[in-house]
């Protein structure tokens, strides 16, 4: 009985009092940001949106070892679902459509992906991203607004109260908190383990009872859903959804988030999203040089910390754990 309780404790996401304190402080910080630093509300909201995409991409790339350069495509599907449908069927319903659409499309992309690996899969998925971008740009009668895109009015979606930027920030915070919680749960569950198992030893995973095709397509679908919810939250935040936002460059940025933050962990995706969003926000002021500076910083981070920010964090934690020995 004593043992059983210990295992159940082990399974809690937050175990120690320090853990709870850190958790409470984090939530408090995010709740207070729009009040204390209103200027940061927008970049922080953007960071939260991106962190969903990075978490999703990490589940695919980091956990199952399938690469994607097409996540801007899923992001676009989510964004367009909200931009087009939310005024008609309400925001929650449009969000649901985004989830279902991304799950289905993610699963479908996952099927041919079973036969591809490494650079081949990277190119194939980038083709998918491009196709989605073209689809939204060139739908007949500009149903999705054509090249100009669609305007998303927050007041129309949420009424006057949530139309204020600060209020919408809290909608994002709520959705992202739930999705992050579910990602942490997924990662340490038997499904998260199976994701890593197919990456590390496919044969042994199979003989242990893991259906490779099922688990890999599931990873694709879940990954797409995270990116799609990110896109769905992104549309009202930016206020406009247009094809040019969802280029290959965006997919590359998503990938750089998880590489910078740390491949194969939920926390790594969040850290990377934060780092990349902060960089872009700061470097935007550098005007024409921003791209160059961004590239340089990324390069330096990767040279100093090949395991990403989360890897550095783990090393620091280990260091203090073993201190003063």
């Amino acid at each position: 009985m004593v043992l059983k309780e210990r295992y159940e404790q082990d399974l809690r996401l937050v175990g120690s009092p320090q853990g709870w304190a850190a958790f409470a402080l984090t939530i408090l910080l995010f709740v207070l940001i729009p009040q204390i630093f209103p200027a940061y509300a927008y970049p922080v909201a953007l960071f939260m949106v991106y962190s969903l995409v990075a978490i999703g991409l990490n589940i695919l790339v980091g956990f199952t070892g399938q690469i994607s350069l097409g996540h801007a495509g899923f992001f676009a599907i989510g964004a367009y679902a909200v931009a087009k449908l939310a005024p008609i069927i309400t925001f929650p319903a449009a969000l649901l459509v985004a989830v279902v659409a991304c799950a289905v499309v993610g699963y479908l992309v996952g099927i041919p992906a079973l036969k591809l690996e490494g650079p081949y899969l990277a190119i194939a998925t980038s083709g998918f991203g491009l196709a989605i971008q073209q689809f939204f740009a060139n739908t007949p009668n500009d149903w999705f607004g054509g090249h100009g895109g669609l305007i998303v009015e927050k007041s129309q979606l949420f009424g006057d109260f949530f139309a204020r930027d600060r209020a919408y920030y809290y909608i994002i915070l709520a959705v992202v908190t739930v999705m992050v919680y579910m990602a942490f749960n997924l990662a340490r569950s038997h499904i998260g383990r199976a994701f890593v198992a197919v990456r590390d030893a496919e044969l042994a995973a199979q003989t242990s009872g893991v259906n490779i095709a099922k688990i890999k397509t599931l990873a694709f679908a879940i990954s797409a859903v995270y990116a799609g919810i990110g896109g769905a939250l992104f549309a009202p935040l930016l206020g406009i959804v247009s094809p040019e936002s969802f280029s290959l460059l965006l997919s590359v940025q998503f990938l750089s988030m998880i590489v910078i933050g740390g491949i194969g962990t939920v926390a790594g995706g969040i850290l990377g999203a934060g780092m990349v969003t902060a960089l872009q926000d700061q470097l935007a002021q550098a005007g024409g040089w921003s791209g160059l500076l961004y590239g340089l910083v990324v390069l330096i981070v990767m040279i100093l910390e090949p395991l990403g920010l989360y890897g550095r964090w783990m090393k620091i934690k280990l260091y203090w754990k073993s201190w003063p020995f």
Binding site: L3, L11, N185, S189, V196, Q206, T207
Partner: protein
């Protein structure tokens, strides 16, 4: 003795190479059978046929009435067969405990939503699996490595973890492809003793590929000998030791190595 596994006329070809050629043999309940033969004789290929990773062109393999040549590799575990690999196949990025938990994967019936929401149903099932894995860790004395990532653990420990992962799924038949290869003599003795105990404790049938003749004779009740994909002998260790055909096959090999050494 009731027959657990029965292979009948199994033939497996890779292009021009016939890796397994018309092989028939059985493994009985609670029996330990060793599969021996020179390099390239087709031992691992036969394992892969039994675990449905390869589909033989000819023949049948049945396990408790189930036809294995028509199933998929991921359903083998739920039928009650588990295995280890000649070249260790562990989940390097996972801890020892997590590797063992994958051995329990087939017993997990909890769906995605319970897992993502961390519901009591999920916690209950997870605790159940952890208990089993923990018992296996204790049995194999892997406690010091419980939360260590498998990648980077000593080779001998990895070999044990792989056996643990196979055992924790509670198989009726355990297939081991060269379980002691690469271990020191001490490690070998220890593992052989442990396997002997486990076998009796768990009422397990074992099919074992092994080159180390000491290991084979101390574990196996029966030996099947393959050469160039064909079965050339099948009998008790006593019978096999005195079988002229087997002696010829192995002497031939030794004569070749001797010649090689001369040069």
């Amino acid at each position: 003795m009731t027959v657990l596994l029965e292979a009948k006329n199994v033939t497996l070809r890779f292009g021009g190479v016939t890796a397994v050629n018309d092989v028939s043999f059985t493994v009985g309940a609670n029996e330990t059978v060793a599969l021996i033969g020179p390099n390239g004789a087709g031992k691992s290929s036969l394992f892969n046929c039994i675990t449905a990773l390869y589909k033989p062109q000819v023949g049948n393999i049945s396990f408790m009435g189930q036809e294995l040549t028509k199933t998929s590799p991921d359903s083998i575990a739920s039928l009650g067969i588990s295995r280890t690999f000649q070249n260790i196949e562990l989940f390097g990025g996972l801890t020892v405990l997590e590797n063992l938990l994958l051995g329990r994967h087939q017993h997990l019936k909890v769906n995605l939503f319970h897992a993502m929401l961390g519901t009591p149903t999920w916690v209950k099932s997870e605790v159940e699996q952890i208990k089993r894995a923990e018992a296996m860790i204790e049995l194999l004395e892997l406690q010091p490595y419980r939360d260590r990532r498998v990648r980077g653990l000593p080779y001998g420990v990895q070999k044990i973890v792989e056996i643990g992962r196979a055992l924790v799924s509670e198989p009726k038949l355990l297939l081991m492809d060269e379980p002691v290869a690469g271990l020191t003599t001490d490690e070998k003795d220890e593992l052989v003793q442990r396997l002997g105990e486990l076998k009796n404790e768990l009422g397990l049938s074992i099919l074992l590929v092994e080159h180390d003749i000491r290991v084979v004779s101390s574990l196996a009740e029966r030996i099947v000998v393959l050469e160039y994909g064909r079965k050339i002998a099948d009998g008790t260790p006593e019978q096999i030791r005195n079988d002229p055909v087997v002696i010829a096959a192995y002497l031939g090999e030794e004569a070749q190595t001797l010649e090689g050494q001369k040069k």
